[in-house]
């Protein structure tokens, strides 16, 4: 760490500062035990969800004998999870057949499931990072939804109202607009918390509603609304503002995925390689001690919330410029809240966030295929996700189920200290 507490103003508070340092740079709990808990939580969630799949099939309950019932149950579960897997990653034999067909488009279609997984994962990376960054600074940003909407609205607006620029200018401009307006949506609760102590959970939730209803308002103004339409739908963004995609190969995957990875690296660098990131983590670990050590806690809260909002805003820009190309109400579709889940599963670590987002992206993409193939409702995926989080949040339960030895410090990452924190 580049920080040395003794160089901070107020040497007499060095002892308190050293506490902060200790808590921040203390060796992380073993990565592997952390990963193990997540994997086991996932397996447990799949098993429990399998029970739901089985009991929801009347054929199992009405089966004449136990053997038939077990057989039907096995077919249900293997069919559903098989569909989930092929929908997320693809079916190996189909992939090989398509790749060896010699036709570029057919070969590309082998990657359709993967492409869908990445498309679903990219915005989750942004919102996951947004929430994780907040966690690190001890802030619970529950307003990702509103920030996604605000960011998407701004990115879309630049995309369809600025004309005559090349993609090298307009696309970054639109992304920047999404980032900045998302930042604004995070800045407000940050400022309110720093200046007045208003809890960010309350203010960010309220700003979600502001964003949702502002969208309805804007989409009914001539500035936004598509000519000839009376329903709330915006104009279509210029092709210069669209994130480049592989649409020519009938794949929806777009450059937003690369951006997501780049931003994840940047957040990692910010948190662990810069003074600002150190301050974030210090404030997250112990705001009082940080203050004693001379860190401007209010400033850190405002900056952290703004950056968190900006990251969520990028998720909105990513959806509008990469997938939808126009703004409609509800385009955020819960991404902000899913970001909380992803951040928790990723243990508040950018690498973990990317992995968790890919996992959830795969579940989402696979769910469509699962229902199309086996008529298992897509909602089962929500159940799986919820159960994964429940088990991850209760590592003691997982350790008890699998009789793992308790590892010190395996609990949740530095999460918001809670009410009044």
């Amino acid at each position: 760490m580049s920080e040395n507490p003794d160089q901070k103003p107020g040497r007499n508070r060095a002892a308190a500062a050293r506490d902060v340092i200790q808590s921040v740079i203390a060796p992380q709990s073993s990565i592997w035990s952390s990963v193990l808990v997540v994997v086991l939580a996932f397996v447990t969630a799949l098993v429990v969800s399998a029970v739901f799949i089985v009991v929801s099939d009347p054929n199992v309950i009405q089966a004449p004998d136990l053997l038939t019932a077990l057989n039907v149950a096995w077919q249900d579960v293997s069919g559903a999870y098989g569909g989930l897997l092929t929908g997320a990653l693809g079916d190996p034999s189909t992939i090989i057949a398509k790749l060896s067909s010699g036709d570029a488009k057919v070969a590309a279609s082998a990657f359709y499931p993967l492409s869908e997984t990445v498309v679903a994962a990219a915005p989750l990376v942004f919102t996951g990072l947004a929430v994780a960054l907040g966690f690190r600074a001890g802030l619970f940003n529950i307003g990702g939804e509103g920030q996604v909407i605000a960011g998407g609205l701004a990115a879309g607006f630049v995309g369809f109202s600025v004309h005559g620029l090349t993609g090298f200018v307009e696309l970054p401009l639109a992304l920047l607009a999404g980032f900045l307006v998302g930042m604004l949506w995070g800045f407000i609760p940050g400022l309110l918390k720093a200046r007045t102590g208003a809890h960010e959970v309350i203010t960010t939730i309220m700003l979600n509603y502001v964003a949702i209803y502002l969208t309805y308002y804007f989409l009914n103004t001539t500035l936004f609304q598509r000519p000839g339409r009376t329903d709330p739908i915006s104009k279509v963004v210029d092709s210069a503002a669209m994130l480049p995609s592989l649409a020519a190969l009938n794949l929806r995957v777009h450059a937003g995925a690369l951006l997501a990875v780049a931003v994840a690296v940047a957040v990692y660098f910010l948190l662990w390689r810069t003074t600002l990131g150190f301050e974030f983590r210090a404030v997250g670990a112990n705001p009082d001690a940080s203050r004693a050590a001379g860190i401007g806690v209010g400033r850190v809260i405002v900056v952290a919330m703004s950056l968190s909002g900006g990251l969520a805003g990028l998720a909105g820009a990513n959806i509008i410029l990469g997938v939808q190309y126009s703004v409609t109400p509800g385009f955020s579709s819960g991404l902000g809240f899913d970001g909380i889940t992803v951040a928790l599963l990723g243990r508040g670590n950018p690498v973990g966030v990317v992995a968790a987002a890919l996992l959830f992206g795969g579940l989402r993409a696979g769910a469509v295929q699962m229902q199309a193939a086996t008529s298992t409702p897509v909602d089962i995926v929500q159940v799986i996700e919820a159960l994964v989080i429940m088990f991850v949040a209760a590592p003691a339960l997982i350790r008890a189920i699998f009789r793992l030895r308790a590892v010190r410090g395996i609990g949740a990452p530095t999460v918001s200290p809670g009410w009044g924190g």
Partner: protein, 318 residues
């Protein structure tokens, strides 16, 4: 079938389309599958999933899926599509657009509502301000105005102004609490017949009407006594849209090879739209009113009565 965000149990257009598929399964033995969209983000992957499954016919449901269906039909020219509530101009040869002139039976519904109102005011509201919703409201308002003309009455229409094309909307097709709030507001303003055009939101309106005790309502899209039987005693009638029959017809055509793209328009004349039976109100509706409705129906079919609210705007009560 890919549904819009309401899902197959919206008791409205998604439910009707699904009923059409189920009927096709029963009558023709075809295999049916459905995917619900939870947001507009799901439209594309959902359609793709069925394209990959090589379905004989993909039915997309709802005006909001118009653009995506057109795009997918262009990228998959051999795949047959049918879309409920959308038509294309020019027509696309692998897409059958199913639209319905619900202003025709909406007109009958409005006339009936005006005839049954004791307070001299009737109310309507929509889910989202889109043509497939407002066409009902236009017809409804026109029917009320026409009643005013025929009976020198002054029945007011709350919740929709055909001249400005604006009125009360819940903003979605799912929030029952909003339906309850809007219905209550309209009843406070004197309306005693409520006509919600908002799918499941209408259930909220039904709860409000039930609590009110004196008001009645008309259901939309499907026969309310079948799709929402718990509120059957409140429904004077339902303003129907023959989605189920036309979806089944499209599936049948796809199955026997006679499928052709283009546009189908449901009207009173071809039975694609119409009023549902009066059920509990059969004995309460004056027979003179019923006779008038029959005459008007023939007038609309024959073209002598316009269902355009502008034609009767001057009879709107102030």
């Amino acid at each position: 079938m890919v549904t819009d965000t309401g899902g197959i149990d919206d008791r409205s257009f998604n439910a009707s389309a699904y009923l059409g598929e189920q009927n096709a399964k029963k009558d023709l033995g075809v295999q049916i599958k459905y995917l619900s969209s939870t947001s507009a983000n799901d439209y594309s992957p959902n359609v793709d999933a069925f394209v990959n499954q090589k379905c004989g016919l993909i039915v997309t449901v709802g005006f909001l899926m118009g653009d995506i269906t057109q795009t997918k039909a262009a990228t998959n020219p051999t795949q047959k599509f049918a879309i409920v509530d959308y038509s294309y101009s020019p027509a696309i040869n692998n897409v059958l657009g199913l639209t319905y002139q619900t202003n025709q039976d909406g007109f009958l519904g409005g006339y009936l509502a005006a005839g049954m109102s004791k307070t001299g005011a009737v109310g309507t509201f929509g889910g989202i301000n889109i043509p497939t919703v407002t066409i009902y409201m236009d017809g409804f308002a026109a029917g009320v105005y026409y009643y005013n003309k025929q009976h020198s009455a002054k029945v007011k229409v709350l919740g929709w102004n055909p001249a400005t094309q604006n009125g009360s909307f819940s903003g979605d097709f799912t929030s029952q609490d909003k339906g309850q709030a809007i219905a209550n507001t309209e009843m406070q303003q004197g309306a005693d017949v409520i006509f919600p055009v908002a799918g499941n939101v209408g259930l909220g309106a039904a709860a409000a009407v039930q609590a009110n005790g004196k008001a009645t309502m008309e259901w939309v899209d499907t026969d309310g006594c079948v799709s929402a039987p718990q509120y059957c005693s409140l429904f004077i009638t339902s303003v129907n849209k023959g989605i189920a029959a036309s979806v089944e017809a499209a599936i049948k055509a796809a199955a026997d090879g006679s499928f052709a793209g283009g546009n189908y328009v449901g009207t009173l004349a071809n039975g694609g739209v119409g009023l549902a039976p009066y059920h509990n109100f059969d004995s309460k509706i004056p027979s003179a009113l019923k006779t008038e409705l029959d005459t008007i129906k023939q007038g609309i079919i024959g073209g002598s009565i316009s269902v355009d609210p502008k034609a009767w705007q001057s009879y709107a009560a102030a």
